[in-house]
Amino acid sequence: MAFMHVIDSDRCKGCGLCVTICPKKVLEISEQVNTKGYFPAFQARPEDCIKCALCCTMCPDVAVTITASEDAGDPQQAASTEENDG
């Protein structure tokens, strides 16, 4: 079972609540602006993420989701997708 942590950068309003709540300090606020003019959160250290879903629970905009796929998949590929999403 492979889990993938995805932040929809266009839904994110950059409030930073997920950044403070993350127990592993994985998330940071991006320097790049999104389509609505906010600075969205992104996974700065995706390798530390334990998929606890606390950021998903806290996010007021349902911008963070975690999906599971049955096939183990290539972890490298999953990590690069996450970076692109951030």
Partner: protein
């Protein structure tokens, strides 16, 4: 170890218009999750308030009605009495429910209408620009109390949950908050219980949610969460205030 997390079906894909860090989004999601879990999306009707959540019908995938300022419980009463098979809930802020709609909510609770009310208490009028609400904390600065709420002049903040709990009619009344994930989980349980009481046709159910308003409090979202924890929670204690089993 890991968990999956996806947007509930009852929530639409539309981006909300709320300010960054506004906990309305969390409460919307909790309501949507509860409706999905109970499997009542096809027969749920929400009644939207006047306030920041006035456009909430855009964010859900079930039926909604918009009510006049504070009159959501009256409208919900009408819907529920005509169609008792529907699950009817109102979603109101503190300016809407505790000020303009005070008589509607008190009488709906006193009649024991089988509806559910989600009451979002963020201690300020949000949409209209941060005026003082009945739930504004003592000495809290707002645009209409620039020197802080003077309790000598306007009295202490109203504890709506306790006020409704003093009525003799059976009701489920709880206060929760959504400022940290542990609170969010408890708030979801309370909302689910409230809907369950309505499903069982038991009683009026009311969940007050202590919320934040970073924009009108003049704080960052993270500071607002701390402010709510330090200033509001001691005055608005969390927990079940009244259950139909006990009273």
């Amino acid at each position: 170890m890991g968990k999956t997390f996806a947007k509930p079906e009852a929530l639409s894909d539309q981006h909300t218009h709320y300010c960054p860090g506004c906990t309305h989004g969390v409460i919307h999601r909790l309501v949507a999750e509860v409706i999905d879990e109970l499997g009542i999306r096809g027969r749920t009707v929400g009644v939207a308030p006047v306030g920041c959540a006035v456009l909430m019908y855009n964010y859900f995938t079930f039926d909604f009605m918009e009510s006049a300022h504070g009159r959501a419980p009256a409208q919900a009463t009408g819907i529920k009495r005509v169609r008792p098979d529907l699950i009817v809930f109102t979603y109101q802020g503190d300016g809407d429910l505790a000020s303009i709609g005070m008589s509607e909510i008190v009488h709906a609770a006193n009649r024991g209408e089988k509806i559910t009310t989600i009451f979002v208490n963020n201690a300020v009028y949000g949409m209209t620009g941060g005026q003082m609400a009945p739930t504004t904390m003592p000495n809290q600065r707002t645009t209409t109390s620039p020197f802080g709420r003077n309790v000598e002049e306007v009295g202490m903040p109203i504890k709506v949950s306790e006020l409704l709990a003093s009525l003799q009619t059976d009701a489920y009344i709880a206060r929760q908050t959504v400022i940290y994930p542990k609170h969010i989980n408890r708030a979801k349980k309370a909302i689910k219980k409230a809907f369950q009481y309505q499903l069982d046709g038991r009683c009026f159910s009311f969940v007050e949610i202590v919320s934040t308003c970073p924009t009108n409090w003049g704080l960052t979202p993270v500071e607002a969460v701390k402010w709510a924890e330090e200033k509001m929670l001691p005055y608005y204690p969390l927990g079940e205030i009244k259950t139909p089993d006990k009273s």
